[in-house]
């Protein structure tokens, strides 16, 4: 077995252990509760844990398949996220063609450019080409009501759910000396730090949370959850240095940046939800809400993580 395979196996083995422990705790909590009505917090916790099994299983399968698996998986996630996003916007009938382009042309092309690793194209395709051509398409239909709002919403949808999400598989195209063929572990590092930050913030918040950090945006987020979550996610990241091209301190610093960006990304996406008057982006993942509810922190950290690693570690 190569070092890469050993690392991947160790990682997923470790995750399985964590999930088994989580499932056991969830099961015991559910059994211990008294009263006839099931406790919604425990029900939600168990739904979340079960969803984690599925999500980690799917990611594991994609990793085994390798590059095609990862690009396709994130392409599909991006599709689902874009669908959730546009469902909450003001689009009108006149935007039909623009939306068709976004879903069936821009999104597949972006992931195709990622697939072939064409950095010069995938890093500007949406911010330059889609940015200019989408409003041109929209204006041809002649509907001017709310034009700026409508076009800005589609642009935002594409940047957030396609461009940013595509920077996760884009990590595969980085060429880091001595780390060839192992880039999937960078994805594992990013996703694991972001998601453990979310989970640890949730746990710290539930156990020690007192002062609300952003009551208007996200009533469940607390100062204690934020500090405890970000710091412990930093530790998680640092302790994963063995499977990355980074040393212990570098891994910790990167994990800190990722967790911080993830937190603020979550706040931004919450603000959009409040603005639109919904609690979750969707109902696709039991206990978690929609795909964007799970992806929001990845969305904000992936492009920055990509560019930091590209700038400091690649040739």
């Amino acid at each position: 077995m190569t070092e890469y395979q050993t690392n991947l196996l160790t990682l997923f083995g470790g995750l399985a252990v964590v999930l088994i422990i989580a499932s056991t705790i969830g099961y015991m909590l559910a059994r211990k509760q008294t009263g006839s009505e099931p406790n919604p917090v425990i029900e939600n916790l168990n739904a979340r844990i079960n969803a984690w099994w599925v999500m980690i299983g799917v990611i594991g399968l994609a990793f085994i398949w390798g590059r095609p698996g990862v690009v396709i998986l994130f392409g599909l996630l991006s599709f689902a996220a874009l669908r959730e996003f546009v469902s909450l916007t003001n689009t009108r009938r006149a935007d039909h063609l623009v939306l068709a382009m976004a879903f069936y042309v821009v999104l597949p092309l972006q992931f195709y450019f990622i697939w072939i690793g064409w950095y010069g194209m995938f890093s500007i395709f949406i911010p330059v080409y889609a940015y200019l051509f989408m409003p041109i398409l929209a204006v041809l239909r002649g509907e001017t009501r709310n034009f700026l709002i409508r076009i800005a919403e589609v642009q935002w949808a594409l940047m957030i759910t396609v461009y940013c999400v595509s920077h996760v598989p884009a990590l595969l195209s980085l060429q880091i000396p001595g780390f060839e063929g192992q880039n999937i572990l960078l994805i594992a590092f990013l996703v694991l730090v972001v998601q453990s930050s979310d989970v640890l913030q949730y746990i710290w918040g539930k156990l020690a949370g007192k002062r609300k950090i952003a009551p208007k945006l996200s009533p469940s987020k607390t100062v204690e959850g934020f500090v405890g979550g970000v710091l412990s996610a930093t530790l998680v990241g640092a302790s994963l240095w063995w499977m990355t091209p980074f040393n212990f301190w570098q891994a910790g610093l990167l994990a800190f940046i990722i967790a911080l960006l993830g937190f603020f990304g979550g706040l931004v996406m919450s603000a959009i939800k409040r603005d639109r008057g919904v609690k979750d982006w969707g109902q696709m993942i039991a206990g978690h809400g929609g795909f964007i509810d799970r992806l929001d922190s990845v969305i904000f950290s992936a492009p920055i993580f990509f560019h930091i690693v590209r700038y400091f570690w690649t040739v």
Binding site: L82, R83, V86, S87, H96, L99, A100, F103, Y104, M284
Partner: protein
């Protein structure tokens, strides 16, 4: 030959369901009612040709098998492919909308299906609605309620599907859709046609996410 046709219908049905889930990520809200094999008439708002497909998609498979959409024969019998989909895949109750030339009475056809232990999907607005307001219900549902008082009438609200495929467009756009099922209603003693139809309309409207806003 028949088993081949049945197999083709199964594959086609599965493809249609997969496609509609892929585009709409459709989600069922059972709000005040549970899925059941009991005979029911699901009556819903009608904004798109895909309405009954979406409703059909979210029904649990054993119930879906028993549930037949009521659809217009003049649309579904115009080509071999449509006839195959309408008859074999959806097992639709195909009714003739032309009062003057029809030989079968639509109400009789629907009653026959109910008597065979099937449930029905109907759209009492009678036609695809392209306005923002719901159209007044046609009296068919009243006659069904009167003649089969034990059948549960389940109001259904289909949300967002009009954005997926507005009239005149051919490419469906992915939008998250939901189908909300409400508490069943029955014809009350002495309730006249107009009162009942208004009440049924209101039951459907109350399930829409905008229902709260309209009352403000």
């Amino acid at each position: 030959m028949n088993s081949l046709l049945a197999f083709a219908a199964k594959i086609t049905g599965f493809s249609i369901i997969s496609f509609s889930r892929f585009i709409t990520a459709v989600f069922a809200n059972w709000d005040g009612v549970r899925p059941s094999r009991r005979r029911r008439i699901y009556f819903a708002n009608h904004v798109s040709n895909g309405d009954f497909i979406l409703l059909w998609t979210v029904l649990p498979p054993p119930i879906r098998k028993l549930t037949r959409p009521v659809a217009a024969a003049d649309y579904w019998l115009t080509s071999k492919l449509k006839a195959f989909i309408g008859r074999n895949v959806f097992n639709a109750v195909l009714i003739d909308r032309n009062r003057d030339t029809r030989v079968l009475d639509p109400i009789e056809q629907m009653l026959e299906a109910l008597d065979n232990d099937n449930s029905l999907i109907i759209f009492p607005e009678g036609q695809r609605n392209t306005t923002d307001q719901m159209l007044p219900f046609k009296p068919g549902i009243f006659h069904l309620a009167e003649k089969r008082p034990d059948v549960e009438l389940v109001p259904v609200w289909i949300e967002n599907l009009n954005r997926v495929l507005p009239k005149g467009e051919i490419i469906p756009i992915p939008f998250a859709c939901s189908v909300t099922f409400g508490a069943p209603i029955h014809l009350q003693d002495g309730e006249d046609k107009q009162t009942f139809l208004k009440r049924a309309e209101k039951c459907v409207l109350n399930l829409s996410p905008d229902a709260g806003k309209n009352h403000d």
